[in-house]
Symmetry: C2
Subunit: 579 residues, 2 copies
């Protein structure tokens, strides 16, 4: 009896480890998950090779990052449709973090890329334990938009050289443009032809194929999904052409040998030196990847009325990165384009991701050698077409019309990424997001109020014809009080006192104050004492319950005991709460 | 005629350059300013020598930083009583920034210290042009308290070696403590005797002298000021003793040759390399110095009902640092202890600072050589006594009782400074201040409301017995909407919809929403569309005027046109504003 209870308990605990979607899996979902998994795989093959190139890594590292991480996310993540794997921005950030530390493509470089995934994954895991999911919302949309657009410009410019078979030495946008212009006469003709043809085809399919297919009678959703397969078509055609005509011998740069077989599971080599070099970029990659994932996952979840839990997402993306590190991959996150395709191809559960992972594993185990003659120029073309779609002018236009400060933060972040660097750009973005928050907070909404004659109502004296008392300043604070705005309140009233030296009472109406932090308490405590020393009494009215509870234990609460009023009207007529 | 107009105009413009306090100077203020200037000078002499030692600089650099900066602040600052000059925390930050870049005391090291002052001053000047005075309030008090206490511990521990005539190699708190314990048997007896005697005397005077003098019949304020002169007494007595007994030949480390004469005015040598190495520490020193200055200046100004303008303070502290750089000094800021003494000694205007500067100039020009035999142990004792007073347990206690999150940010900042480093500590403090702000913001106060039966009033359904409609969720948002909390609103309502699938209307009551930033607009726009696609209508009620004005031009505003209600009651009974 006791034994069977123990077994039942054990089974229950094991079951709790199985994700919810898996336990309630319905057969009707299977076809959608299979189709979505397949289509995502077909997108993932060229993208994982291309983004590995962008990150300065051998192609197999991109393929490895497209297997186990998908399984890990399926188990630990909270989104039903997020497609994780290598993405453009994290690849750029990887390249930017490592290019000054090791030779791109070298074993050292690969080891550090794996280390980045390990550190990012560990950080996200720790953040998840600390329940820091709110970090998903610490960047404003304009800043995210500026960061992504800037990264897209940097990436697209950086890939142009491969389109022409050039190899530029310079870093930075200006150097790259100059190098391209100077290098153009030395462009490799065959490479350029292949590259531009691929680019033209991909742009054409993105813009027109879906519409064309619809006119041929295909359903619009199917047509849309078909057009997403274009990169794979380009990869296959160009590889066959290059292999057939031996263009690689003629100087067309190709992917070359990709080792067949699955990655070895291994613990990455740890060293304090690499940790100390890589923790800052790892943190930035982790945060950017997390913010991006949550925003994609959330917009898709909303369409089906599903829910994303940021704390669970930290765990999911963290687990995906740890899985990437343990299987020889580099930092991964939820990608926008593939997730949208996954969603509209009918993925119901993360099982679609497991399908993709299995298909990728089959491709890598059996056919990796077939990518030998795939030209770099074609990968560059797929990257360019993918990232150009990320350049987002709409948000800038909207922000410009709606809020200039937001628009300025977008433009500054964009400029920071393009002209300064991707890491500097995101740090600038964080500073601007939070700076704008502190700046706006430091200008809280406040109103001096007076009594609407004959009533118990009090209104803004600037807008209504109201009665005031000569010795009383009554100010309604319209936001919670905390370190960034407490002094603004003090300053506002001090300037009013300077205008009305006959003031003997300052009444703060705290009806909108939900919280009062330790700094605000400090400021009010010190200010109340200096006011008292100058013969002016500070009074409170309409203090919310939770705020009042907290005040009770404090020095300020003790001093204010008889000066806290239930209503503004009572303060006007001097009846205290604590009488 | 035209000529005299031009002259008058010219005089007017020149007058505008003269600070306000100067134009309206009253003779009655003069004695207070002279006395305060004198007392501050007597404090400033030992402190400027001691803080230069703390910063790893030759003594004259400290003296130079105590002349022109005071004049520059008097002209450009907004506080009547702030005493600027070398301070403990900025000196520690200078040492921490430079000790890995050059040999302390070497010409290179001095040049970089001057450079730090130049960069800090320039940054503050630029911030002042950009009107970034709000930066004074971007750190919470608990974080500032933790930072200052941590710095004080680091400084005091670092100075103990000089008290015993030891020279420790190690860095970091643990190494310093271990080094002290191991080194104690090798302590230099004469140095230790002088050092401990100075320390004992200074602690005694700080704790008891003022009280003692009062019992001898002195007025308490005078007694208090007298006790501030103790460090100068120790300096003079110890210098005379050491010089008389030739203790320096016996191995007591002394200040040595201090070049007499005023500093040469010179433009510091600029190089991109030093700028790229020093801009981060310069920024941190600038921000910390500014925050400290404003908080000291503000607390003093309040006592007299005066006003501090943070934008002007940026200019004042910036000008002081530029003046320091041009006269061979290092970063300066408003110091707490000297400002309080300046205030209570009766300083009425910044003329007191000019008096101090003039007196310092006389001392440096005529008597600098007299400091030759001043023992380093005595300077260390003055530093220790000064900084121990900065260790602030009270704020921790208060914060612990009032708000655990604030207390945790204090402790973490403290630990960061002590165990990680002063720069890392302040960066951690900034992250914690802003992180706490985002975290709190991401949990906005919201209430689902229902109708108080028979009235037009709506109240929280958790607290009142109110009527609700089965197909309507009415939620009152109690804070402004912006990037950090917009998703929380969405999540709250989505979880309510999940519980009540019969929901057809979501009514947001925006009576407390003073602002709605571009991110919140984005979130609401996307969410409104997904809700609409799911057959649920989003509605607004009690939208404030400024918010409504902004909404009008937007996509969301256009879609919501007929779903914005003047009052919650009207939304309940479905009468739209725009009908």
């Amino acid at each position: 009896m006791t034994n069977s209870v123990a077994v039942a308990e054990c089974v229950k605990q094991l079951t709790a480890l199985v994700p919810l979607w898996c336990r309630g899996y319905q057969r009707a979902w299977l076809s959608g998950d299979l189709v979505a998994g397949l289509i995502v795989t077909v997108m993932l093959i060229p993208q994982s090779l291309a983004y590995a190139m962008l990150a300065g890594l051998p192609p197999e590292v991109g393929l490895y990052a497209s297997m186990l991480p998908l399984v890990a996310y399926a188990i630990f993540g909270s989104s039903m449709t997020l497609a994780v794997g290598p993405v453009a921005v994290a690849s750029l950030m990887t390249a930017s973090a490592l290019s000054s530390l090791a030779v791109p493509g070298s074993p050292d470089y690969v080891a550090m890329a794996v280390m980045l995934a390990l550190l990012s994954g560990t950080m996200l895991f720790v953040f998840s334990m600390l329940r820091l999911g709110f970090l998903a919302y610490f960047l404003s949309h304009p800043v995210i938009s500026g960061f992504i657009s800037g990264s897209a410009v940097v990436i697209a410019l950086g890939q142009l050289q491969y389109l022409f078979g050039l190899k530029l030495a310079g870093d930075g946008v200006i150097d790259t443009i100059a190098g391209l212009i100077n290098g153009l006469p030395q462009a490799h003709l065959t490479t350029t032809t292949i590259g531009l043809a691929a680019l033209a085809f991909l742009f054409f399919t993105r813009q027109f194929l879906s519409r064309l297919l619809t006119t041929f009678g295909l359903e619009s959703r199917t047509a849309d999904l078909m057009s997403k397969l274009a990169p794979m078509v380009v990869v296959i055609v160009s590889t066959v052409v290059v292999a057939h005509f031996d263009f690689d011998a003629a100087g067309v740069s190709v992917v070359g040998h990709v080792p067949a077989g699955l990655p070895m599971l291994a613990l990455p080599q740890l060293s304090w030196r690499s940790i100390s070099l890589l923790w800052v970029p790892a943190l930035l990659i982790a945060l950017v990847g997390f913010v991006e994932s949550v925003s994609v996952a959330q917009s898709l979840a909303l369409k089906r009325g599903q829910k994303i839990t940021p704390d669970r997402e930290l765990l999911g993306i963290g687990a995906a990165n740890l899985a990437s590190a343990f299987s020889g991959g580099y930092p991964v996150t939820g990608g926008f384009a593939r997730s949208v395709v996954n969603f509209s191809a009918g993925a119901h559960t993360p099982f679609a991701g497991i399908v993709s992972a299995a298909l990728m594993a089959m491709v890598v185990a059996g056919f990796a050698g077939l990518f030998y003659a795939l030209p770099h120029a074609v990968l560059a073309a797929t990257i360019i077409v993918a990232v150009v779609a990320l350049i987002d002018v709409g948000t800038l236009k909207e922000a410009w019309r709606y809020d200039r400060a937001d628009a300025a933060s977008l433009l500054l972040t964009f400029a920071g990424v393009v002209f300064w660097g991707v890491e500097q750009g995101i740090v600038l973005g964080v500073v601007l997001s939070l700076g704008l928050l502190v700046w706006r907070s430091s200008r809280p909404h406040m109103a001096v109020v007076g009594r609407v004659p004959g009533t118990e109502h009090f209104r803004n004296i600037d807008r209504y014809d109201v009665e005031t008392l000569p010795d009383l300043i009554a100010l309604r604070m319209d936001e919670s009080l905390f370190f960034a705005n407490a002094h603004a309140l003090e300053e506002k009233i001090e300037s009013l006192i300077a205008l009305h030296p006959e003031t003997r009472r300052v009444l703060l109406i705290l009806s909108a104050v939900n919280r009062l932090d330790a700094t605000a308490l400090d400021v009010l405590t010190a200010w109340e004492e200096t006011l008292a020393a100058r013969g002016i009494a500070l009074q409170f009215a309409e203090v919310k319950g939770p705020v009042l509870d907290r005040l009770r234990g404090t020095h300020l609460g003790a001093r204010m005991k008889d000066r806290i009023f239930l209503s503004t009207y009572q303060a006007f007529t001097e009846k205290t709460v604590n009488d």
